[in-house]
């Protein structure tokens, strides 16, 4: 569940601290890119994220992020009744979220090219 997530306050290993910061920075980006492919059931989205190897994050990180994205207006939710359990909350990218994602993609491309050619 926790993957290799460790809060910087808890780890004295510089590499661990660095990976934590990288993952935190990328998490929002990943969520928006994932939702750009189509709406997703919240529980499934969380399960995907908690099992993503190097990028895995705990539920304690993902759910607050999803709530924040919704409050910010970057994602929208709607409920779908289900015969197999509680009503399912589906997440999708809002128009504003799409704009943000476009900006993030451009920035990401720029970062990648800088990293590939530091000179």
């Amino acid at each position: 569940m926790q993957g290799i997530f460790m809060s910087p306050a808890r780890s004295s290993d510089p590499f661990d601290n660095w990976t934590v910061q990288v993952r935190k920075g990328l998490l929002e980006f990943w969520v928006l890119r994932r939702l750009a492919r189509g709406e997703c059931y919240g529980y499934d989205l969380v399960k995907e994220l908690t099992q993503m190897g190097s990028l895995s994050m705990s539920e304690g990180t993902v759910y607050p992020l999803l709530s924040r994205l919704r409050v910010q207006g970057w994602v929208e939710t709607h409920l779908v009744e289900s015969n197999e359990g509680p009503a399912r909350k589906y997440y999708r990218l809002s128009a504003e979220g799409q704009q943000q994602l476009t900006s993030m993609n451009c920035y990401w491309d720029e970062l990648q090219s800088l990293l590939e050619d530091p000179s």
């Binding site: 569940m1 926790q2 809060s7 306050a9 808890r10 935190k24 919240g42 529980y43 969380v46 705990s58 539920e59 304690g60 990180t61 759910y63 607050p64 992020l65 999803l66 709530s67 924040r68 919704r70 409050v71 289900s82 015969n83 197999e84 359990g85 509680p86 009503a87 399912r88 909350k89």
Partner: protein, 295 residues
Amino acid sequence: MPPLPRSAEAERLEADYLKRLKQVLTRLPNELSVDIFENVNNHISAALAGYSGEVSLSQMAQVLEELGPPESFVEEEAPPSQPPPIPEMNHANNDSRQELSESLHLLYTASIILVIGIWIPLIDLYLFDIIACFLISKIVLSPAHKRLDMIDLGSSAKICAWSLVGLFVFSVLEALSPLWGLIGLPFAIASLVYSLVMMWQIYAGLKRICQQVELSSFSTRIEKARNTYFTFLIISISIGILLAAIVTLSSPTNSEVSIEVMSLLLLPVNWFFGWMFFLKPLKDLQKQIESPITS
């Protein structure tokens, strides 16, 4: 579709978790906290949807363990101006560690009273247990020991203490008529159930403390102790039921003996093993927390 039914213990565990979650979420803006709470609530239901029949305590515990402690939901989102949700314990703050060490010492003392009480033949063995449960409740609910963060344990300990009081009263009355012993049976069941709940809450509380003071190795020990205890519990319940059945079948008029046998095995024995299996880790944890202060 209505949610899956939960066993009483599972429902209590879930309610405790959600109550704690609500408390920690108050650190966040209302809109965020409401949304996160709703998400976590739905997550629990969705995770349990895979099970059939009544959700058991262990199934609920597994789901909640995978979710992580309620505090983890505010660690990232609490505004920078606020202190971290687990303040000053990550670093060797002597005052905080001293306070926690003293609180753990008191909890350990109360637990010793409980364990010794089981073996002192003082009127059905309950008096020391009653004193210990009230003491535990007083300790964990006192503001002076807030660092233990075991408020839920305080409530359960109180209920358990009063159940034992009831059991004690009816055990004494049983001398007048065996019927009183039967009437006291619900108190026996209640004290057993709440002793299990207390046990779970203590283990959960100690694990939280291990996380706060960054002693993950102790967290593993606490978990092993908990698993060993529940294994003994299952064994003792099985043996109790088997022996009670044998006694009843061999001599149907001796149903009171069966109940006594079951009471003996289910209540004091599993309490004894349970409390013994966490006393040592508890004491060692207290020493470990103390050691940066004295070194």
